[in-house]
Symmetry: D2
Subunit: 374 residues, 4 copies
């Protein structure tokens, strides 16, 4: 038996690897942070045997409730990621697999590698309507990359989409890949029409350092980027600093920040009802967006979600709130499940890259409906 | 120089083929019919020369107005069909091409062959949710094929989609191919949700004989199928007879009949305002459908279209009218252009298979919205 | 239950279709000919039942020995053609299938349609090294198409490849598709080197009328084209007449005529040992070709094959013999099995399009080795 | 303007980045080693401008002669890697580009990432004839992965293929990808026949640490693995130690070690003429291999290559020599060019991944011919 995590976004520590029935593992903390929950490792062993794995520190992870009803993601070919049932006893997470190929990858969710991230950026830039810019560098020296889609000069509307502030929420970048593919589809009249008067600014990965390092929630120095929007700095949170400066420079009419939620088995949005400037107009935009999203995608809903903020009680260190207040416009956090959409469950694959991509495709419709109200 | 039409849906007669600058051609009539306008032929000649083609009987064709602003469809590889500008002088249609490869196909619209039709049926039947049935035979002995998608036993709603009563309107079968692909996409929640309570009955090609023969509008004995719905017969219009009997047996809640229009450069619907039973409820369904279709697809519009029927003046020999009256429910003819969508023109490709497929994908949304009103 | 053959290369006559356990069918004769053995039909019936089919005139077919050890070819999706075991009682051929999808195609070998033929020609012509010419018309009015690959002006060697004189031998056109794909592969140095000094003249389908009509062996008027090479005529065998004239005009250094054999479960060649001019040089070329082909492809062998002609006893009405004598050079009939290669049997698929294509890829090697001896 | 190398196999140091006409860069040394020549970086700048890059320490690199006639490899989409001409003045290497997209990658040769390496291993393991084993860990903690193809129990012959001891020689892993794809192609009779009696042991990447680190020639601690075969250690060269142990355990009949050469614009082999046990039998195997390789692939030749070793003067620290002596059998280093094959030059792409893959496909033929002599 053999376990490794020495690869892009790998994260595991082996505690015991002697008994196939009792493989004990720990998830490593994010660097300089208490957060942990993302795991990603490769296991190799004799074929056609049953193996039982335990994440022994699961109960201490960032969102321990997330393990209830959770299914591990696994792949033999690194392309199809299937689900495996788990048991969570309040302390440890256990799961078993009858090994069908010599080597298998396990992860918290289907990984989205930095190689694929670079492929995405450079496939996109081939389109004549796309520009690619590096805003600056992360603390590990990686690129903060911005895609601009459409004609910024002529555009009436500006839409910002950022993803993966929390690097372990890989569904967020799958979502963006789906969105971009649809937006650039020249046979899709909705996308073509949108780009006639709208420019999209898209940051597919807000946290490349955390992504490569195998973090759940923070950057290279333990900063939770989604608590840095009021006073980011080049020392602690250059990722936010650089993107926020660009937003202030260019302005924006609609903001989406794409995330994953460890606990709730639904797709939903978290909005700006708690920001100081929230008003009827803002509410109308929110309602328009949600109604349109529900109409086009039964994977989206508005029944289950986070508790609403009291008026004026929003945490303005969070991107969506800070942006909503700053630009006085629609600013949503979109949350997808690590688990599944309980309204339309898929036993075999749960919430998957394919469905996240489809939800990203479908978001063009509520965007278009909402822009029409501006 | 060499011209041939001896292949699936081929249609041309050579009048003069001596002078590259004056190639004179005639479109053949549909068998036992006065209708003609569909053409499809292969031309071969020395490379890098300019050739000028004239369809000398264009002015006598079924919809001579259709030649105004029309661009010929052409392909070197039988996959990409590009457009060529034409001149129409009221009698003849002229167009020129600088030949880039030895052989080129010209057609009225991108062909959809009987081989592809069979491929479509048999690719679809692989899905466990699809059934394939032959309702009977055409006069030439071809299959009248019905695809049933979804669980007919459990379904609350029944949707019928038929296409290509007029065989030269090939965009209708491209539309159906798009619709079916989207409907069976298991990562598309809208489709998955639709199939939870709806069964689709789809006839991708109502007129295979006319299709293979290279007809514009009629079947093997010159019958215009879309004037046969009141009293079809196995002798003259078995295509309609067989499908209509099945509809009467199974019932239906929403009917779409997919067509192409020679003249108008728009996508639109023709409805049932002229049928005897038309009422507020019917109007609500029509409005719901149109609003939803316009919302999801800027390629669809409701400004340009056919003149509305006077109340009670509908021609009940037409499928949409007869079905609307018979089943007292939404029954639309969907029309796509042979030319282009003038609202979103594409110089290089005009209205194309890809866009017809996309319009077929998008029709699931208005269907779903409309069914919600039943 | 439902059976049809009204499509490209369809061939069956229903005798009895009442009892699923006793479906009686006849193969139709080639038009104006006694030959028959090719069949191709579609069957539709209730799912998950067992059906038993009998070709009741199998014993009178052209090569009745061919039914021994033969497996029927079948497909649910028209792309993957699997094999079904048969029983041959000396008069009838019986086979059974548990139906897994509503509709299934059966054929003597995986079909190669006229649509695919046109696709092949027009995909190929896109390559700047390829020319496409129509030599004239068949009796049904189809194109006799010649592909010229390479630079005829500069070429030191001229290689002719013709296929499917016998239209039911569809493996011959699959072979050509493989050959052409490999020959035009710009990353394959063997092909690139070959085309530096060699021009290929390829007729992918010598008998399009017979192909579309569902014939085994003859053209539209019952002519066995491979017995027409001494005195072809535009009235009876324009296919041979046109190609032969072109060969006489352009010359050739190596000739391959691609066929299938109903009986022998092997790939082999039939050569020119019986032609008047056969000599040591000719034998050297033959030996070179065979040795090289065996070296590169274990699917090719020289143990099993036709009885050798006595010296001077060759039938010069046959293409390979006539060409060998006329051009005093290597001229081979290549035979592939309808059944399987018994040296490397594949239970599931038998001899298949994929393997015929591979054998076509591999033929470039013996061609190159042989040309080096000229 | 912006330059980065913070990604898989990135290697550059920016010296001056102010003047687009004078961008000065240095290649970094391999860690704990004097070797350097591999470079790989991303450049971003305003579109449609001309940029001039200088590698100012080129003249001090490991194989300075390699810069003569060298063309840089570049890509806008990370898939197609085109060539750019250079000037080498004996000290610096200069090249210019008119930027067509915002961002471009430059490299010494088309990169082969660790992500792709993992994809390769796991795609391969899906085949029932393939086993994947981890032999142990590198000094950075990466996997030393061995693929076993075929049935080791029944095999008469054992073939070893190792690649990329020198990590910057990425063409070696492209070669292996081509070889493996062909070997597992079930429609290729040569491969199927080979696997009837032969087992392949393949190490696609002997030096994953050097690969990820962007090294030319050494591992994580500066060891040139191809000088470690006499006395490797887990401390300094675990990569060689682990593979060599496995070879000693399993034995082998034919060894290939895949490399790239900085200087010579040819594909060639370096053999064992200088090892103590070299004899007529060994020479026969070598000649058989070379003759067969030349026959099948015009990209392979035996005119240009390294100077032959004097008898008995082989350097037995080199893999090919040590293995040839140890196992008394054919053991070749296969060298491909960084530049191009001067016998069949390709202006646009030079020696490319596609051609390296093809050479890997084609190597099955000389392997088979050589094994037949054992
Ligand atoms: Ca989050
Ligand atoms: Ca119509
Ligand atoms: Ca034959
Ligand atoms: Ca080397």
């Amino acid at each position: 038996m053999y376990i490794s995590d020495k690869f892009d976004s790998g994260n595991i520590r082996v505690v015991e690897l002697n008994d196939p029935q009792n493989i004990q593992l720990e998830i490593k903390h994010d660097h300089q942070s208490e957060f942990f929950q993302w795991f990603h490792f490769r296991f190799e062993g004799p074929l056609e045997q049953q193996y039982r794995f335990s994440l022994i520190n699961a109960g201490q992870s960032a969102y321990a409730k997330g393990w209830q009803g959770y299914q591990v993601v696994a792949s033999y070919d690194r392309e199809e990621w299937f689900r495996i049932d788990t048991e969570y006893d309040g302390e440890q997470l256990h799961f078993s697999l009858l090994l069908e190929q010599p080597s298998v990858y396990f992860a918290y969710f289907a990984p989205y590698s930095y190689e694929r991230h670079q492929d995405l950026l450079h496939t996109m830039q081939q389109d004549y309507r796309v520009n690619l810019n590096t805003l600056g560098q992360t603390l590990d020296g990686r690129d903060m990359s911005l895609l601009t889609i459409g004609d910024a000069e002529k555009a009436k509307h500006k839409v910002w989409v950022i993803a993966r502030q929390h690097p372990g929420e890989t569904m967020a970048e799958w979502f963006v890949e789906g969105l971009l593919g649809n937006l650039l589809d020249q046979d899709n009249p909705l996308a073509m029409k949108l780009l006639e008067d709208t420019v999209f600014y898209v940051v597919p990965n807000m946290n490349p350092d955390g992504s490569v390092r195998g973090h759940l929630r923070t950057n290279a120095v333990g900063a939770n980027l989604n608590r840095e929007w009021q006073s980011p700095s080049m020392e602690r949170s250059p990722e936010v600093f650089l993107v926020r400066e660009k937003m202030l420079e260019l302005g924006g009419d609609l903001f989406l920040d794409i995330h994953g939620d460890e606990d709730l088995p639904y797709n939903f949005v978290a909005g700006c009802e708690g920001i100081p400037s929230y008003d009827e107009r803002h509410k109308l935009l929110e309602d328009t967006f949600k109604q349109a999203y529900m109409a086009i995608s039964p994977d989206f809903q508005d029944t289950h979600g986070y508790a609403k903020d009291e008026a004026g009680q929003a945490n303005l260190t969070i991107a969506a709130a800070w942006l909503g207040e700053q630009f006085k416009t629609l600013s949503y956090t979109i949350e997808m499940p690590f688990k599944d959409n309980a309204d339309m469950p898929d036993e075999a694959f749960g919430w998957s890259p394919e469905r996240a991509m489809q939800l990203g495709c479908d978001v063009l419709f509520p965007i278009k409906q909402t822009l029409a109200k501006l």
